[in-house]
Structures are given as C-alpha cells and as structure tokens.
C-alpha cells in the first residue's frame, strides 16, 4: 500500500462541512483491495488497536486497507480526546486508488493521526508491533499543545453557538471573529477593545489603588514606612490590624499579616526590611480570597479561591497526603483539566516550614496544612463558585473597579469575610484587578456550578442579533463566473457597500487591486474576509481551491452557479464526469446559510438539480420564461429571473421588476445571450442581498463606465462586425484567463496579437504562446518596443517555439512594431471574427485602436 498526497481541507468540502484530512491511498495487492481475502489481517489490526471501530463501506465496493486507514485515523483521534466523528473512503475511477477523508479538529493532529494509521496498517501487514499508547499520547500532547486553551475555547464555543464565524490567526490564542468590517478579535480573555493603558494601570498596584480609592472602591489603605516607629504611627493612622510587606517582594517573603500590637508591628518592619529597602504598611483585610469576573458592566461570575491544602489523617505524611490529593483524575498537569496537581516544590516546602512542618511530618487528623500562600489554580489551588451569593453592593464595587481602571474584561480580586455582605460593613476591599483573567475557575470550578463566561464575552462583542457576518456571495460555474462576480460586486458597490472581490485576475477591495493573478481560491477569499474595510464579499470560487482546501467560509449568504454545461478540465483530480463536476460545484450550494439564497441557472439541468441540496431559498434564472423549472418555481411564488419582450424580469409572486435590456450595456442591447445570463445571475444575487431595485437598475446601466476607468483590462471594440478585445496581459496566468474569457464569445475565426516581455524567463515566454496555440487560428507576433536586455529577435524566437506543434494555430506572422502588428491583424478581420490584442504601450495602443474603430464610424466602447 502506498499513500500519496495528504492534504488538509480547511473548510466545507466535497466530503463534509467540517474540516478534514484527505489522503490518496493506493492499494497494491489483491489482499489490500479486499480485506476479506485475508481475515487474519483484521484480527491482527484489532489486536494492535482494539478501539479501531468497525470498518465500513457505504459503497458496493469491498472493504480495503484504505478503509482500515480511515477508521484507524478517526479512532486514534477519538482516543486522543479529539471531538471528531466523520470519516469516509471513496473509490476513484483509477483501479486500486481510494480517497480517504477523516475529520479533524486540529489540523496537525489530523495529519499525525493519518500517519499513525498508515504505520498501524503497515505493522499489521508486516506482523510487527505497534506502540499504540505512544501514538495516542503523542496525539493527545500535540492536541493539548495546539488546540485552544480553556478560556479562549469557551469564547470560541460561545461564538459558534451564536453562529459567529471564527478563525485562528496564530497558533496561540489570537482569534478573529466575524468577517470584514464586522470583525472582532480576542486573545484569551482580552478583547480588541481592551485598552492597553488600562492593562498598564492594572499592572501598577499602587496606581490601581489610587484610582479605585478615588472612585470610592474600598482598598487596603497604606503608605510606605521609614522605620519601626513610623510603622507604628502609620498603623494607628490607618487602623489596626495591619500588614507589613516589602515593596516588590515576591512569593510572600517578609510579609507579616494581621499585626495588632506595637511589638508585632515593629517586629514586622524589622523582618520585612531584610528583603527590601522600601517597606509598605497596609490595613489588613480579614477573610478569604474571592475573584469576581466583570465583563462590560456586568458581574458574570464569582469564585472563592483557596490555596492548595491537605488535611491530616493522623497516619500519612504530608508528602503522602499530597500524592493522594494529586491522584484525583480531575487534577492534571496543565490548564486542560478543572484542577491542577499540587506542586510539591521548594515554595511548598518553605510554606510547610512556616507552619512548623516538614514534608515527612504526619499532621494529626483534621489538621489543615497549606502548601502555598496564594490560591492560584495553576499551583494546585481550588475555586468554589459563589456567583449567586454576591451582594449587589459588592458587585457594584467590582464593576466600579473594572470601569475605573478601564478594563472591559476584568478579574477583580477581593478579600473579605463573605460576599453576602457589603464590603464596607466588614472591612473588605479590592486588592487587585487583573487584565486577561483566567476563566477556567469559572468555567469548571472545583466546586459549584460552572458559568458560561464565554457567552458573556461574545455577547459583549456581538449584541444580540449580530453575528459578525457580512454578505458573502460565492460564484461558481464553467463559464461567466468572472463577469458575474464583477457585475455583482458593481451592483453592491453602487449601493455604497465597500466590496471585496476575488476572481481569476485578482483580489479587489473597494476597487483597489490588492493581489493579482488567479485569485479564485480559498486563500484569496480568506484574505477578503479578514480585510477590515470589506462590507460585502463577492468570491469567485473555482474548483481547484475547493478540491485542494475546501471553502474559505463556513457558509455563504448567496451561492451562484452560472452553469456546468459540458464542463472543463475534466479528468483532473478524479473529477471525470460532468456529474462529478456538478457534485463538486454543488458544495457552495450545500453551504448556503439557512437564511441564504442559491441563484441557479434553470436552463442547465445539472445546476437546476442542485436546488434540492440548498438549505436556504432558491432563485432560478433562465432566458426562457416558459422553461418548466422557471414556470414551476414562479407558480410556487418563489423568485425567478427571466427575459420577456427584451426585458429582464425579476418576479416573486405578484411582485415583478422589469428592466429593458437596452439599459444593460453589458448585453449590447440584448444581443449577447451569455451576458444576459450573467446579468440575470448578478441581479438575482443583488436581490438576495437586499439591494434596492433602483440601485440594481442604476448599477446595471453604469457597469460600462467601470471598464473605461480601467484601460487595458478587457476593452472590447466592435470593428466591421468583428470583435476586437484589447488587454494588457503579459504572463501565462493572465493569458490563460484571457483565453478563457474570449472563449465565451462566439467567433468564426480567432486571431491574436502578442509580444513577449524580455525580462521574463524563457519558459514563461514560451508558455504564453503554448496557451495561445490551443485557442487561436491566427497569431501575429510582434517585437516589443523595449527588449529589456534581450537580443534582437530573441523574444520572437521564444514565442515561435511555444507555437511549435500548436493544435489550432494555422497562420503565424512576425511584425516589428506594435501598431503595425495591430493594423495587420485588424486588416485581416471579417464580420464574426474575434481578435485579441495583447497591448504593450497601453495608452498609445488603445488610442490607436480607438482611432481606427472611430474611422469606421460605428464605434462602441464596451467591456465584458
């Protein structure tokens, strides 16, 4: 068996809506192609990995080793604790080749699981051992390492349940919610609105105290003291009992609490001054440590925190008692479990000594021994939920503390006897405020009820009714995608939306090109969705990206499928039939939001059939108003777009809008059928996006002006009944896109005028004419104005090489000078012909063509 090509499908894909790893498995022997031939194999396999689960096939084909890999990869992840359920193996048309898709929650873990699954099957084949435990531990460790931590995870979960899309920006806890201009970010328990100044204030305890005090929040008052006498003086000013501590002290060294007498205070000063020159005296707050979590202006959760403690049983040593506590399965090593193991380190030992114990002491039954001064969960402390106990006045102080410092997510540390009473009544106070507080103690407290703090954070960022989504219109099909995308984007833009658009010639945000080349894949789409200036996205969604990576979005508001027709590129990636292609292109329809719309070409049966896969509504479009699909849909009171009496008609029930085709320049007064179809698809998409009709009509009529503003981009001229298209395309990608674009336009004879830029690689220059040779009958090669370091005639030579063995090109001419070449090609044009001119000196060449066309006196400047 051999496994080639393992890839991650990072969005909805051919197999599932979830993320999945896809592997191509080649079964070599007959035994591998049919596991039932050698029943021993499965027994060996189950011996090595008892949890592998059933080997299933949902096809009539036999169970193969690919199925074994599939099941192993899924169940290895399950054993490692990953929340995954989907897996599937599909036979390809190529004998022995199978595609295995297995869901993942963390990409790297999924890939590792596939690799372990392969190892496992190989071990079973070769009758070797497989270290299952090691594999599961490695997967678990990797998963724990890479998956979101509990705080971030809880917020992401809350977002998911509100239908808010998310995306991790780093391997850490930086997460983006929503799209485009609606996006927000979090980093653990910080929001993008969390103020940096507020965080700096929170880190400065003295400043925090000053501000809280100013706001009337009780804090332990105090001041620096100079000597023992001064300390006693200060103690009396502030009121007994007091705390004495070194400033900037750590781990509680030199801290003396609950000092009540002159002797204690003065001795406290002496002790503290062994650790620092600056000594602080503060009033002592009696009671327990509480953590109150404030989000926005609300108290969300409260917990009482206790340092790690063991209780003597009169028999065990402290060391043994700690071991016993740590054996609780709820206690883990990191942040993943609700409790962390008590650390038995030097700090713990020092704390024991303070209490008069050593690690081998045997405390009497019922004696409480503390292992730490602080109650941090990460060193083994416990947290008890007390949210419902908090007195409104205590909550008000906590909120006030958060707002005074300026933190929108804030952990307020309070010391008091009880949160059931106002702080003022019990000498309680706020001792610290924390930015980016840990949420684990509230999510899964050691005792008491867990609180949905993630939801509180998400609700703060996204008020009810908002989901951070912008309209996303995905467009796919065999032909007409780019025009549909551009026109739809134009209609949205006319409405004042800042539109992000991807297509085969680039990424555009708000009319500015931010990337070039073929950008119809998920990477470009993701870039648009994370751009802060995008109010709506129109995304050309090509097959390649869908196969390679899946979709860039979890769901879209509108999916447009222009057509499948005869299909193209069949035979690649096991998409061998038009049906296969339809299944693939259907993916965007399957992932329309429930409130969304699929815009489908009713005239293409493959496309029309996709309607049943759409979770949302469907708009059908077709030229023919009497097409049965249109007629039925229309009769059902659903949305349709068709052509009647030279008008484009959009209709739903009794509502109808009629737009004369003469007002849609793109269609050349209705002369070009495929452009009408593109316009109908765009109109339906804009309609689904709730663009007002007057805006849609205005946008349709102004689409032409777009292209005039972009000289050198597919500028179309009518010349003596032939079509001349001028474009500044100079690389194989651009040429490819152009060839594809002109292939939409019917023509009796096709010619092209082309030169090559000298600073490209030889093979790139050759590649251009190689593409040309497949699509054009006549080629006029001309030498560039500037040869960019090439010998005279060198570039033309390379262009000629590219044409060697061309399947279509019959006639080749070589010309010196761009304008002469253009003239030469235009001279040869007859009505019904098409000529693509790849211009070099954009302004001058366009002017030359325009002049010549005008001379013919029926100039129409337009674009597709």
């Amino acid at each position: 068996m051999d496994v080639s090509r393992i890839r991650a499908l990072r969005g909805p894909n051919l197999w599932t809506r979830n993320t999945a790893v896809e592997a191509l498995v080649m079964c070599e022997s007959e035994e591998e192609k049919d596991l039932s031939i050698d029943p021993q194999f499965e027994i060996k396999l189950r011996n090595l990995f008892p949890g592998i689960g059933p080997l299933r096939t949902d096809q009539k084909s036999k169970i193969t080793i690919a199925h074994a890999i599939e099941s192993a990869a899924l169940h290895l992840q399950i054993e490692a604790g990953c929340p995954v359920t989907f897996s599937r193996t599909t036979k390809t048309p190529e004998d022995g080749f199978y595609q295995v898709a297995v869901e993942y929650s963390v990409e790297e873990v999924g890939k590792m699981a596939i690799n372990f699954a392969i190892d496992l099957c190989n071990s079973a084949l070769k009758n070797e051992d497989f270290e299952l435990d090691r594999a599961v531990i490695k997967l678990r460790d990797l998963d724990e390492d890479l998956r979101l931590g509990p705080s971030t995870g809880s917020i992401v979960d809350a977002a998911l349940s509100r239908g808010i899309p998310f995306r991790r920006l780093t391997e850490g806890s930086l997460v983006l919610f929503g799209w485009g201009s609606k996006q927000r970010k979090i980093q653990a328990a910080e929001m993008d609105s969390t103020s940096a100044i507020a965080e700096s204030i929170a880190q400065d305890k003295e400043l925090t105290k000053k501000l809280l005090h100013a706001a009337g929040v009780p804090v332990p008052m105090g001041r620096p003291v100079a000597d023992p006498e001064d300390a006693w003086l200060a103690a009396n000013e502030i009121g007994l009992p007091v705390v004495i501590k070194p400033r900037d002290g750590n781990q509680g060294k030199g801290v003396a609490v609950n000092l009540k007498t002159k002797e204690e205070v003065m001795q406290g000063f002496v002790n503290a001054s062994r650790f620092s020159d600056e000594i602080l005296l503060e009033s002592f707050l009696p009671g327990s440590d509480y953590r109150l979590l404030v989000v926005g202006n609300k108290l969300i959760a409260a917990a009482r925190r206790e340092p790690p403690t063991v209780i003597g049983d009169g028999k065990s040593t402290i060391f043994e008692l700690v071991e016993k506590v740590n054996s609780d399965p709820k206690r883990g090593d990191g942040h993943a479990t609700s409790l962390t193991k008590i650390k038995f380190d030097d700090i713990a030992k020092a704390r024991l000594i303070e209490q008069g114990f050593s690690d081998s002491s045997i405390p009497s039954k019922g004696t409480r021994v503390s292992l730490r001064n602080n109650a941090n969960l990460s060193t083994g402390g416990t947290a008890t939920d007390v949210t419902d106990d908090v007195h409104p006045e205590v909550a008000a102080r906590a909120i006030s503390a958060a707002q005074t410092v300026g933190l929108d997510i804030c952990g307020v540390d309070i010391v008091c006897e009880t949160v059931l009473q106002p702080l003022e009544d019990q000498r309680g106070g706020v001792v610290e405020v924390n930015a980016a507080p840990g949420l684990r103690m509230h999510l899964t407290p050691s005792f008491g009820k867990g609180r949905d703090v993630g939801e509180a954070v998400i609700n703060n960022m996204f008020p009810p009714g908002q989901d951070g989504r912008i309209p996303v219109i995905a467009v796919t099909g065999t032909n007409g995608k780019t025009t549909t995308v551009r026109l739809t984007a134009h209609l949205l833009r006319t409405h004042g939306l800042r539109v992000g658009m991807t297509n085969t010639d680039g990424v555009y945000v708000n009319e500015r090109q931010i990337d070039s080349g073929d950008c119809s894949g998920p990477r470009s789409a993701r870039n648009v969705l994370m751009h802060p200036d995008v109010d709506a996205a129109v995304l050309e969604t090509a097959r390649g990206g869908m196969l390679r990576e899946g979709l860039a979005f979890d769901r879209c508001s509108v999916a447009v499928v222009t057509n499948i027709g005869m299909g193209d590129h069949l035979g690649l990636n096991y998409i061998t039939t038009v049906e296969d292609l339809a299944v693939l292109k259907r993916v965007i329809v399957q992932n329309v939001a429930a409130s969304g719309m699929a815009v489908l070409n009713a005239a293409d049966p493959m496309v029309a059939a996709m309607a049943q896969n759409c979770p949302g509504q469907v708009t059908f479009f077709a030229l023919d108003p009497h097409h049965p699909v249109i007629a039925t849909h229309r009769a059902q009171g659903k949305r349709v777009v068709f052509v009647e009496d030279d008008q484009m008609v959009a209709m739903q029930g009794k509502m109808s809008v009629r737009i004369p085709l003469s007002e849609v320049p793109l269609t050349r007064r209705g002369a070009i059928g495929f452009q009408i179809e593109n316009a109908m698809a765009s109109v339906a998409a804009a309609w689904a996006t709730n663009i007002p009709w007057e805006v849609i009509i205005k946008g349709l009529s102004s689409f032409i002006s777009d292209a005039v503003a972009v000289p050198g981009r597919f500028n179309v001229f009518d010349y003596k009944g032939a079509t001349v298209i001028a474009d500044y395309g100079h690389n194989p990608d651009a040429i490819k896109a152009l060839v594809q674009a002109v292939s939409n336009i019917p023509a009796t004879k096709r010619s092209v005028v082309i030169s090559g830029a000298g600073d490209r690689r030889d093979e790139d220059i050759r590649e251009q004419t190689r593409i040309i040779g497949e699509a054009f009958d006549e080629v006029v090669l001309y030498q560039d104005a500037c040869q960019r370091g090439r010998e005279d005639g060198e570039v033309i030579g390379l262009l000629r090489q590219g044409l060697e063995g061309a399947r279509r090109t019959q006639h080749i001419e070589e010309i010196r000078g761009e304008f002469i070449a253009i003239d030469c090609a235009m001279d040869r044009l007859k009505p019904g012909d098409l000529c693509l001119v790849l211009i070099d000196q954009v302004g001058e060449a366009l002017e030359h063509i325009t002049k010549r066309v005008k001379k013919e006196d029926h100039a129409v400047l337009s674009t597709l």
Binding site: I197, L211, G216, G406, I514, H531
Partner: protein
C-alpha cells in the same frame, strides 16, 4: 560690606486656581531685611552682574510692557523680591520649562514680601525660587555664582519630573482647546477632561488603544502576515535551503534581494541589495553559518519614512536620511566620515543639533553596515565608490506635505489592520510623493505608542501639530471633556446648599460627586466622612469616571493654601464674604483683600457658565462684572436695587415676592412655590434652612437647566433621603423621578 541673606519665611505650592492666577504657582514669603533700604539702583554693579549672568532678562517686559522693561526697572531701582521673581522665571525658562507669570507684593509688614512664580512642576518651581534667591544674593554681594550649574540641575529635574515631550505636546494641545488635564502619576499617564467625560493618554497611547493591537504590532512576523493578507506591500520573504533555491526564489521575487538568517539580530549574516546569482549564492553561505534558517527577502530600495497615523488619518510624515561616503582612493572610511558627514553643520554632539555626529566607536550599526559592504574603519574605498554608513539616521525631515494619497491610504489601512488608533508606520520608499507599490516600496513595521518628537521638532521642515491631532481624535469638535461643576463659596449655610444642589443634580439624572464639610459623596453614597473641602479629596471626584457632575463646597483658606482642584466651573456660587479664622496668617486683613480672594469663585466661571451671586450682600454684587459667563442674582426681595437693574437688562434673578419663590427673567416671572408650601416650610423650620440658601439653590439649579418642576419636586423631597445607602436611595430617587413624570 555683605548684605545678610534674604530669608524664606514660608513657601507653598498652589496646585490649582488661586489668589494669584488660574495656574499652579509657588508662593514664597521672603524677608529681605535691610535690603528694603537698598533698591537695585543703590547697589553698585548689581544690575550689570545680573544682566551678564542672565542675558535673557532683557526679554522680560515686566510692568513697563515692552522688551527690556524689567532691565529698565533694575536700573531705575526695584526691590529684591521682585528681582527674585524674574530670576526664578528666567531660570525655569533656561531649564526648558517655559513659564511667564510672576508677581511680587509687599505685605503689611515692612521688608516682607510675597513672591509668586508660575511653575509646571512643584519641585522645579521650589528649586528655581531657592536658587533665584542665591543668585540674587550673589549678584548683590558681588560673589561668585555658577549659573550653568544651576541650570543643569534644573534641567535634570525637568527631565526627571516633568511630562515627556510627547505627552506634554498632547496636554498643551488639550489646554489650547480648553480641555482640562490631571496628571495621574509621576510618569506620563494623564487624564484629559473630568469625570465621566475624561479620556486618558499615556505618551502616544490612548485609552482606546487596543492591547491586542499592541501585541500584534510587537510581533513583526504576524504583523507582516496580516498586512500582506490585506494587500499592504511588505518585504516578502521566503525560507530557502540551498544557494540554488535562493537564486531561484530571488528571481521569482524580483531583484534585488536581501539574504539573512531567520532569527538574525544585530545584522549578523545579513546581506543587502543583492543582484546577481553569484552574490546571492555567496550570501546564502554567509547567512547559513549563523545556524538558523536562511530567508530571501525582497530588498526595498529607498529611504525610511515614519508616517504617523492618528484615528485613520495621516497627520505627519518624517523622513530619515541615508548617510553615505564617496571614496577618493586615498582616505580611510573614518576620515571620509569626518570630512563628508560630520562636517555637516547640522551635526553635533549636543542636544541642540538636529543630527548626530557619527563616530564608528559608538555606532555599532554603522560598523556592521560598512562590514556588509566589505569595509573596515581603516579601509580605503576606491575612488568614486559610494558606501552607505547609516541607512536610516534620525527621522529628521518633515515631509508631511509630500505624501501621496495612495501611500496615505495604505498607511492608514496598515494601522487599521493591526487595530491601532495611533500608529507609527515605518515604510521604505524612494519617493513618498508617488504611489507605493509601483516603485517597490513597502511597509516594514507598525509601531504602537510612537514617539512624537520627530514631528514636533524636525531638523528640517515645519513642526506638525500632532498633539492637536491626537486631542481632536479623542474629543469631538465641540467637546471639552467637562462635566458640570458647581463651586460654592460663602458663609454658614454653604454645606446644606451644596447638598441641595447635589441632590437636584442627582434627581436630574446625573451621577453627582459632592465634596463638602460633611464628607465626600459619590452618586449619593458617602465614601469619606472627613471634611472634604480640600484639594486631594475633591480631586477624587474629578478622577472618578463614573460621575457626570460635581459640587464643591469651597473655603477662602482652601484658595489661599492649596488653590482649587478644578480649573473652571460651570456654576460658581458666592453667597457671602466669609470671614474665616486664620486669614490673618495670609495677611488678609481688609475687606478688599478678602474680596480679591473670594472673586476667584466667580473668576472661574466658564464663558458658557453662570455666576450665582447674593445681591443682598452689597460688597459682592460688584463681582458680577468679573464673571465670564452669565450672572443670576438672588435676593430676598425684588426691591433690591441690584436685582431691579439686573432684571431691567433682561437678565435672570431669583427672589421672594408675595410669599412665593420667584424665578424671573427680565419682566417674566415664574412662581416656583409658595414659601409656606408644607415641605418647604418644614425644611426651613426643621433643618434651619435660610430663605437665602433656598434662593441660592434654586438659582443654581436654574443655572444648571434643571426644570422648575423638578426643582420643586426635589426641594420637596430633600431631607427625606435615606442617608448613606445608595441602593435604597437610587430606588427612592427613581420612584421620585417617576412621580415627577407622573
């Protein structure tokens, strides 16, 4: 003969508006002793020595009102206290802390003067006054005095204790817009505005500067990744594994390129501006030695620029300069640096010079830069060979006016992508006045909390109002960050008056702070029981972000001892001339003197504010004229002459008439309630409320635009409040509000 030292009797810092001026000052009392008999013209050489030591004194206009005014006074004869005042101002100015205000006044005791000097920082002010005395004594006695040592000491103090230049420029811009400020720490954390309308700044960070955005900007790789995803040009890089791959990648990326180790710091193993296969392959091997991955990165040609983006707008652009030397075939690198770079008159060692001199012993980066070009300090570059010594020196050229809109758009986008409201965008481009991408320019870094100095003090070009831009970003066009403040000065019943006014403000829906003799209240919650009529406790109200209005009961002694905690107020109420105990300690003896202290409360009223004055107290009615805002007079009877006149001018008054409390404007009268209205009568009887206090409260409430209906309801309910229990109270007040609405 030597004169006896001038003696400081007392020195105090007046932190807020005071007897002398609106601004903080140091007030010192000095005893000049026998010098009383020796004005400056009577001491030979004194004036000349002073002028020689402090030539800047010529600029002091003094009472004469023109340049040289003070020097003129020196020559015609003036007394040491006055001279100390000017010397202290001059010393502070020399130390880099511009101040202008000063005063010297005789007291009622001969030879004892009050010297007052404006200062921006207490310790600096105190020190400058002490040194002013020493300097004056030295000049009088013709003994030695080291002026520059004093100035240096003061300079060091200014550096250490005052706001940094970036923060200071923001705070100054705020003052220009009449937005008050409070410095919250010894550092650069400053609050602009008061209470709920405040904003905070910390150098060039605001309270809206996102912590996440800062953490993104500090991660260069993440920043680049996000920028590039949004189409912002950056120097793209790629890890390569062999010299051949490096050349491959370089070609597809476009030449020239940089080759460097991925964790490269200090420029080790970095090679810039590589164009050929040979150079690139060689550079790969050099970088490889450093141990980490090797990166090929697009080399960005051009100069480094710093674009300051504030709230989505470009507000300043500075350009760095690449310093180069050109070989002559004879001189060493070091010699060429001396003759071609350090000879520039703009370069120097001291602070005043816009550009630094380059000494290779101190500029490690320059040494590395030269090493990358194969040069050591002692190498002799070939004739006409140009070598770069410093790629991006001081950002010292202001080029704000040149920036192309395309670059502006990209720079603001970069700030948005990272999420910073104030960002310093570092970009490298050859020509800032042309679009970025076509010339291969790129953004190389996005900085949070950018320094502003390069824009405030560029070496070449005009300074940019970046402080103003930041203030405008924080405060809307007509916002001043001010919540309504009411100051109350007077006699006897100011305590209950302040509570009444605070109560009415509270009922009008404002969370109100109150500092009065009974303590400190926040939103009707008593947070402190001690007398709050002092600077510290009162200031807590202004710092509290949860308060929308404030009422301060004020005393004459507070004005004399500390100054007031707020700079201006919406409403200033003067009920009487309080004859407080302890005034004689301030040498306040006459009614006129007392009046000139009491006027402070009226002086501070904002132009759009209101002064409320008791017309029944003859001495204070005249203060009306000092009020920048409107004045509402009140008196027991409409027959009061001042009231009559006031009304005849169509202005507002409050008085009693026919047993009713009346609000009047011109000849329009509104009867608010009868004085025998039961709850009011009870208030007067049980609480001992005087009618005039009631009138003052109504006038103040009217000044605060509280509706008459609410004033009446509020007075009716006053006294029924449950003391010191916020929850009960707010419940009650909402009931009250409801009942009023009904």
């Amino acid at each position: 003969m030597a004169f006896k030292d001038i003696e400081f009797l007392q020195m105090r810092y007046l932190r807020g508006p005071n007897f002398w001026t609106y601004r903080p000052v140091i007030e010192a009392w000095v005893d000049i002793g026998e010098l009383e008999q020796f004005p400056s013209d009577k001491i030979p050489g004194f004036a000349q020595r002073l002028e020689k030591w402090l030539p800047g004194l010529i600029e002091h206009r003094c009472g004469v009102g023109e340049r040289g005014g003070f020097v003129e006074r020196l020559k015609t004869g003036t007394w040491p206290a006055h001279i100390m005042e000017h010397v202290a101002i001059e010393l502070q100015t020399l130390a880099g802390m511009a101040v202008g205000f000063g005063k010297a006044r005789e007291t009622s005791s001969s030879g004892i003067y009050k010297v007052v000097v404006r200062t921006r920082q207490e310790q600096v002010g105190r020190e400058s006054l002490k040194e002013a005395k020493n300097l004056v004594m030295a000049a009088i006695n013709d003994s030695a005095y080291d002026v520059s040592a004093t100035v240096n000491t003061l300079k060091a103090m200014v550096d250490d204790l005052c706001l940094g230049p970036s923060t200071a420029c923001i705070v100054d811009a705020a003052s220009d817009r009449k937005i008050p400020s409070i410095r919250l720490t010894d550092g650069n954390l400053v609050q602009l505005g008061y209470g709920a309308l405040q904003r905070r700044i910390w150098t060039a960070e605001t309270d809206r500067t996102s912590a996440i955005a800062e953490s993104i900007s500090s991660d260069k790789d993440l920043t680049k990744q996000l920028l590039s995803q949004c189409g912002v040009p950056i120097p793209e890089g790629q890890i390569v594994h062999s010299p051949e791959e490096a050349w491959e990648v370089a070609q597809s990326m476009g030449l020239p390129v940089v080759i460097k180790p991925s964790d490269g710091n200090h420029g080790r193993g970095v090679a810039l501006d590589l164009n050929s296969a040979q150079e690139i392959k060689a550079a790969f091997r050099v970088a490889e030695v450093e141990g980490s991955d090797v990166i090929v990165e697009r080399f960005i040609k051009g100069e480094e620029h710093r674009v300051l983006v504030v709230g989505n707008k470009v507000v300043a652009v500075a350009k760095g300069e690449t310093a180069t030397i050109t070989g002559d075939g004879k001189s060493t690198v070091e010699e060429l640096i001396e003759s071609q770079i350090n000879s520039d008159p703009r370069r120097g060692e001291e602070e005043g010079f816009p550009l630094d001199t380059i000494r290779l012993s101190e500029h490690q980066h320059a040494v590395l830069e030269l090493q990358r070009q194969g040069l050591e300090p002692t190498s002799i570059p070939a004739k006409d060979r140009v070598a770069i010594v410093q790629r991006n020196g001081n950002m010292s050229y202001d080029v704000t006016d040149l920036i192309h809109p395309d670059i502006e758009q990209i720079a603001t986008l970069a700030a948005r992508v990272v999420g910073l409201d104030i960002a310093g965008i570092d970009l490298v481009v050859e020509d800032i006045s042309k679009p970025l991408a076509p010339q291969g320019g790129a953004i190389v870094e996005v900085n949070a909390g950018p320094g502003l100095l390069m824009h405030i003090k560029p070496a070449v070009g005009s300074p940019r109002p970046v402080g103003r831009a930041i203030v405008d970003h924080l405060f809307g066009h007509s916002d001043s960050g001010r919540i309504p403040l009411v100051g109350i000065l007077g006699d006897q019943q100011t305590g209950i008056l302040s509570k009444l006014v605070a109560w009415l403000l509270h009922l009008s829906g404002r969370r109100t702070g109150l500092a009065c003799s009974e303590g400190l209240y926040m939103n009707q919650r008593k947070v402190q029981s001690e007398d709050a009529r002092n600077f510290d406790l009162s200031e807590r109200i202004l710092i509290n972000r949860a308060l929308d209005a404030a009422v301060f009961e004020t005393t004459i002694l507070q004005i004399l001892n500390e100054g007031l905690p707020y700079d201006r107020c919406q409403v200033g109420i003067l009920t009487n001339l309080p004859k407080e105990a302890g005034l004689e300690d301030h040498d306040i003896k006459t009614t006129d003197q007392l009046l000139s202290v009491a006027r402070t409360q009226i002086d501070l009223v904002l132009p759009q504010g209101v002064g409320v004055i008791n017309a029944d107290v003859g001495e204070i009615v005249g203060l009306s004229e000092l009020c920048d805002g409107e004045v509402i007079l009140y008196a027991e009877s409409p027959s009061n002459a001042s009231i009559k006149e006031h009304l005849s001018q169509g202005r507002r008054s409050v008085y009693c008439k026919d047993g009713h409390l009346v609000m009047a404007r011109g000849d329009q009268e509104t009867l608010l309630f009868p004085l025998d209205f039961k709850p009011i009568a009870k208030l007067i009887k049980d609480e001992g409320l005087e009618t005039s206090t009631l009138l003052a409260a109504v006038a103040a409430a009217w000044a605060l635009d509280i509706a008459p209906l609410l004033i009446r309801a509020g007075l009716k309910n006053f006294g029924q409040q449950v003391a010191n229990h916020a929850s009960l109270l707010s419940e009650k007040s909402s009931q009250i509000t409801k009942s009023i609405k009904n």
